[in-house]
Symmetry: C5
Subunit: 261 residues, 5 copies
Amino acid sequence: MRNRSVLALAVLIFITLTQAAGAEADREKLLKDPGVYATFAVFKVGDQWAQMEKEARASSVGEVKKVFEKHADKVAVDTYLLRGLSERADFFIRVHSKEMLDNQNFLVDFMGTTFGKNLKNTDTFNGITKALNYVPKFPEDLKTELKTPPPQGSPYVVVVPIRKDAEWWLMPQDARTTLMKEHTDATVIYLKTVKRKLYHSSGLDDLDFITYFETAKLDDFNNLVTALLQVKENRHNKRFGEPTLLGTLRSLDEILEILSH
Amino acid sequence: MRNRSVLALAVLIFITLTQAAGAEADREKLLKDPGVYATFAVFKVGDQWAQMEKEARASSVGEVKKVFEKHADKVAVDTYLLRGLSERADFFIRVHSKEMLDNQNFLVDFMGTTFGKNLKNTDTFNGITKALNYVPKFPEDLKTELKTPPPQGSPYVVVVPIRKDAEWWLMPQDARTTLMKEHTDATVIYLKTVKRKLYHSSGLDDLDFITYFETAKLDDFNNLVTALLQVKENRHNKRFGEPTLLGTLRSLDEILEILSH
Amino acid sequence: MRNRSVLALAVLIFITLTQAAGAEADREKLLKDPGVYATFAVFKVGDQWAQMEKEARASSVGEVKKVFEKHADKVAVDTYLLRGLSERADFFIRVHSKEMLDNQNFLVDFMGTTFGKNLKNTDTFNGITKALNYVPKFPEDLKTELKTPPPQGSPYVVVVPIRKDAEWWLMPQDARTTLMKEHTDATVIYLKTVKRKLYHSSGLDDLDFITYFETAKLDDFNNLVTALLQVKENRHNKRFGEPTLLGTLRSLDEILEILSH
Amino acid sequence: MRNRSVLALAVLIFITLTQAAGAEADREKLLKDPGVYATFAVFKVGDQWAQMEKEARASSVGEVKKVFEKHADKVAVDTYLLRGLSERADFFIRVHSKEMLDNQNFLVDFMGTTFGKNLKNTDTFNGITKALNYVPKFPEDLKTELKTPPPQGSPYVVVVPIRKDAEWWLMPQDARTTLMKEHTDATVIYLKTVKRKLYHSSGLDDLDFITYFETAKLDDFNNLVTALLQVKENRHNKRFGEPTLLGTLRSLDEILEILSH
Amino acid sequence: MRNRSVLALAVLIFITLTQAAGAEADREKLLKDPGVYATFAVFKVGDQWAQMEKEARASSVGEVKKVFEKHADKVAVDTYLLRGLSERADFFIRVHSKEMLDNQNFLVDFMGTTFGKNLKNTDTFNGITKALNYVPKFPEDLKTELKTPPPQGSPYVVVVPIRKDAEWWLMPQDARTTLMKEHTDATVIYLKTVKRKLYHSSGLDDLDFITYFETAKLDDFNNLVTALLQVKENRHNKRFGEPTLLGTLRSLDEILEILSH
């Protein structure tokens, strides 16, 4: 219990500090606005990295930070550690910007560093944020509940890519709204402990949605997903996860430290 | 915003310049005519490339350009950067010619360069262009709308390979025309911002179609694909993407520069 | 920069606080209580390990043991040999703790040793233990039978990850209880020879359940699974195994000895 | 156009020359008789080949030719270039003989050469030729049409492995004959431009059939496959391709030249 | 023809010689009794093996033979060459013993030799032999036919792993017996030319059965499998092969000779 609150505090301080920084991309807007492009780039450290000289690895860390700084006016970047909790990768980067090209240019520079050249890019998910589709037609009390402020400074992250079946897309809008209301009802009691964000991916990737979650309570999150498996909309998930990425929010410094010592 | 128009301009200049070159394959005809063979060859740079001497990499760039020039009278080639937006590959090449053998000979020479030997060919799609199948039976007003000139100089490219199910192919031609009219109606409002091209692949690959798109507005493209998911023809897509390739049009020089610095 | 020191501080505080807890993690409680987080991390030794100097391998063994000791107050760890009975991996580690973060921190340290750097992490399954779902509604005689003490000191382990279909989750709780009673009835005669443990994974991994078994009699286990294939609940297993991990319980020392001689 | 006829001529000369050689396996019989075993072995050149000394590669070419000569009295071998048109491999070898063991012995020797040790065997398909199953029950006019002489000296090859579903195999023989007549009717107009050969693989591989095609007109071949997708038998193809191998007939010398320069 | 009988003779001699050796595991009993554990371990030689010094490879052969001798009192081992007929692997080993742990200990020692360290274990199948399930209920004449002595000294081996669907397992025992009688009737005419052996794998692997065949006539075997595809039980094979392993029985010496020259 105490663990969790200390880590939550640390993350809160971290967020406050980064928001203070002036010239950066307007992080808050990028994280809230519709029409923002996101790229989730997932990486595994290659075999040769461990064989490199310690000094070469250390100087590469500086190179990586310069790339982050160089693009800071265009992209908002978050970093997450997967190692230990996923066999697919060691960490992932979430990039937000107003133009997909800015995501690409940042990632091309990152992958061009000595560190980047030693990474294997195991998964990449692209998406765009949009205004809420179904919520405007929900009853007022549900709309009010959805205003519950999400938790801040949670240590855990889960990313679940989703693809719907043809029947979902061919359903009349009203029928989909009914199913999404049932879906949303099931999530209400978790609004306080699980923070959610949705990206639309149709045509930008082999997905329809990227669902992103932050929480300090993985038991609640397990209950939330179990509840979502029990609503009728679940019949239309052709892909749910594969991969499900479970990790922890960590600063770039901490990730570089872990992967290069 | 500025980003997008600068890139669009660069692409336009690039296209103008390459079209000026006299002795080359009649690029415009190859890109418009039916009966043209296309090969999409997708590549990832291997681990050993980064370990090579800088000079060796530089001299390899010259070798690649000579291969492009040597085959310029037979094949029309376009190059695209995937790195950062797809985990599957770093770039792809689209080759058009009047004979599949010319595509193969060009690619064999390309893969025989020092640079080519350091590439992993992660995907290859083969197709042929054909006269339009369904359009002749569409109503006149739809035919007129389909004459909307497509956008030029768009920075983004998306390639979506498609395979239809047996029910699609066994449907009477009329029923398919009806479904394709519904499909086409859904795309009309995007004709101004999304340029499309279709290749037939049955028997030439594990696909039925390669669908190719250029756009400057990925939000429109996401809406277009979402609209296509909502027409009945979508029930018959056994494979849609896998991979969906999202990238940017870049000159050969720019791609070689990015991958060999 | 400041970010890092704050986070570092947080981690320090976190370490200090938990070390106050004193002796080793209460293994027995972790193995019995609900709300415990488990990570199954599966590894294959890489090609380069065999090429290393004998001495380097030996000193690496000491390094691994120190990591196990360092985390002994937070995590309970079991080790299993797969080599010979599974092509996927050489061994796996089962980690239990009260916070998923502790599993990750232990595994990150383990994978950071010289030995760890030479491993390929082929599979990872995450789960949480919970109070029994269906048992409370079972008839008394079945409840009594379920109290049969499981066998101790069995040499074999089998891990079977399971994913249920949408119909399972959408079934009324009563119907599921009926099916689970039929399932449980089929297992009663094996309670004496097969020890079982269940983990819930929905949302924490691309699974719904990790089922874990220990036995000295693989023929009984084969009969048990065959019996479970013959109950109606089996219709709802979208994934059953893939991989099924069959191995033997072995001490860390024995595994390191086998893999490093 | 010229391209195609020159290649066709080269292939004709090559065939004539190889048939002139006296002591060889009776190639014509092996290619026509039922009861002949065929192995399609598909290879990709490994990374280390390009790093070898030029001389070592050249001397390896001689070694390969000796293996071909050594087995020439038992096996008839054809060679095909895939590079450029398939990401899966660089070339494949089709081996025919009266005993599967002879195919294996030849391939074991081939894979034991320095060149062979640098190859990755990406796919292997095994089959046996049989007397025609359905044709004897076809109407006389169709039987007559099936005697159309196939084209000779075609430059392109396509190999499509096929697996039928259980319903196909459980259908009464008459019903299957009706479906195969519809299938065959659809192919008649392509008999002049597409040469076909069929191998039976059930139990010898994870396939039921290997279908093999030679043509100079890939547009006709694309139309042929599209026509076959539109007959009812297509409903019973559980696997169609995956991989579809599209390549060109090339002499061993030409393939070795391309892959070792 | 001569080929086949010479090989058959060699295999017969080999079997006779190995059976002569006194202190060995009672091979005949292990191959006939129920309750015997079998492990099929499939291997591909790694890239580094070919680069090793000839002498190192030769001395490694001796090391392998010692491992076989060391375990000869507990396990009965057969060896098979796949190279040339399967892209998945070069050879496989079938191990029988009274305790799965003995299979593991033998394979761990084998994989710990210099040769073993250079192998990639591409597939492993575990199973147990059992008394016949359905035969006791078959009519007497079928029972009599099943006593046909199987062929001896056949050169070819085929291994087909099988997984049944839920409907198979949920069928009443009588219905399954009826289907298995139809299945068995289809095999009777092949009893003289195809030797069969069955292993049960549910819970020990991602399979339900390992089916093992020896034959000198692959054309008969192809007909046998085609006949089995035409019985109703085939509707319930969720997995049939994948991989189907086709190879030849070869002595350990011959396999080591082929793979290490």
